[in-house]
């Protein structure tokens, strides 16, 4: 249904006289049917994370399917502490990444919609004057394809594309939900240090991004930076005063910091606002119980300082 898109119509390329080609992109000729590991090695290597296709086969290749699934590729990137950012499904987004110097891993369907032949390749170049894209594809180091033919093959594969980013890098065309998903992947892969860096990038673009503040708190908490986690969650709670997850986490970290009374007050007040069938109820209930079990003692000075700070 979408009208054809052309390289010459993208803002990223329309003003460029010279074609782009990321010639430094490594080339891994593909072994039998293993386009996933080859394409993945190409983009990982370009991002400075050296990995040979052979080493990746066991991670991403599913012998029964004679191929790799997208989640496997995403997981392999995240396990290396890198961001797997799935691009918006437009030629514009793809061209913008090339201009930024990043090769783009794409899924193509080289067959028919009804009889698909799936293939992963890496777009490394684009020429708006001739309407061609250049790919590292299979055994071809420099496969040139007309943009029309490329768009057709990409379209039939749901226009799936990704770039590998360092956690302190932003994509050329950052979309909030897509960037959230990429960083959440780092959290899920158990890489809090990188997630923390990446959430800060998100906050640099959108300073009041609630999800990033919440995530930054979680990353810091995982890293044992309790004061840092508290700062992030206090900002989150200020922006979302009635949201129980943020209040719960803030109460937990305050308890960990030795601010039992303040934490308990917060957790009990939160629990009182929740219906028993609320999704957050069991967690907040547990938090209240855990805080009640903490020894009562003299609280550090910074508890009350923070209380004033959080109310200002």
């Amino acid at each position: 249904m979408s009208p054809g898109e052309h390289l010459s119509e993208t803002t990223a390329l329309s003003n460029r006289a010279a074609p782009i080609e990321l010639t430094a992109t490594p080339f891994y000729p593909q072994e039998e049917l293993q386009c996933g590991p080859a394409a993945l090695a190409t983009v990982l290597d370009s991002a400075g994370s050296r990995a040979t296709p052979d080493a990746l086969v066991s991670e991403v290749y599913v012998p029964g399917l004679e191929g790799s699934l997208q989640p496997e590729l995403l997981g392999a990137i995240r396990r290396r502490g890198l961001l797997a950012y799935e691009l918006p499904p437009t030629l514009e987004g793809l061209a913008a990444e090339l201009v930024a110097g990043r090769p783009v891993l794409v899924l193509q369907n080289l067959g028919l919609a009804s009889r698909p032949i799936w293939h992963y390749a890496v777009v490394i170049g684009a020429d708006a004057s001739t309407e061609t894209v250049t790919l590292r594809s299979g055994r071809e180091q420099r496969l040139q394809m007309s943009s029309t033919k490329f768009m057709s093959s990409w379209d039939k594969a749901g226009r799936w594309a990704l770039v590998v980013l360092h956690p302190d890098e932003a994509p050329a065309d950052p979309r909030r939900e897509r960037l959230h998903r990429a960083v959440l992947g780092l959290e899920a892969a158990g890489r809090p240090a990188e997630a923390s860096q990446a959430w800060r990038v998100v906050l640099h673009i959108w300073p009041d991004d609630s999800v990033a503040l919440f995530g930054l708190g979680n990353a810091r908490y995982s890293l044992g930076d309790l004061h840092g986690a508290r700062v992030a969650w206090e900002r989150y709670v200020k922006l979302n005063p009635a949201e129980p997850s943020g209040l719960n986490n803030l109460a937990v970290v305050l308890g960990d910091l030795g601010c039992r009374n303040l934490a308990l007050e917060l957790a009990r007040a939160t629990l009182n606002t929740l219906a028993p069938d609320d999704e957050a109820y069991p967690q907040v209930f547990d938090t209240v119980s855990a805080l009640e079990g903490l020894p009562v003692g003299k609280e550090p000075e910074f508890c009350r300082t923070a209380e004033r700070a959080s109310q200002s």
């Binding site: 989640p71 939900e177 959440l184 959290e187 899920a188 609630s210 979680n218 997850s245 957050a280």
Partner: protein
């Protein structure tokens, strides 16, 4: 056309199953993971985007043409499942949109897709 939509649906499902795999992992005992707030925020944003689209003059006109009450359509958007929302948003993202304005062709397509997802018609199944 059907094949294409089937494929998109599968792609969306693969993605969703991936997301929920990630979501299953809790951050720490006592602390709620980020997925909890990201998921609900994403849903709210997607619903809001679609509702503002449905509220647009051209889309309203199209819906009225088709004999559908625009208010009703807006309400139905809020009751779409996450997978359906993801699919619709993926379609909208592909529209060549200049400054957030979707073309007429795009609007008609989106209207039909909304109607299909909300169960008014099952046009795509007949193609």
């Amino acid at each position: 056309m059907r094949g294409k939509f089937g494929l998109r649906a599968i792609t969306a499902l693969v993605c969703l199953s991936l997301c929920s795999m990630g979501f299953a992992q809790a951050a720490h005992a006592g602390v709620i993971g980020t997925h909890a707030v990201a998921g609900s925020e994403q849903r709210t944003a997607q619903v809001a985007r679609l509702q503002s689209l449905v509220a647009g003059e051209e889309v309203r006109a199209k819906l009225v043409d088709l004999g559908v009450d625009p208010e009703w359509a807006a309400q139905r958007v809020a009751s779409l499942t996450d997978a359906e929302l993801a699919r619709l948003n993926a379609e909208i993202e592909q529209m060549p949109a200049g400054a957030g304005v979707v073309t007429i062709v795009g609007i008609t397509f989106i209207v039909l897709l909304i109607l299909e997802l909300t169960g008014v018609i099952d046009i795509f199944k007949k193609i």
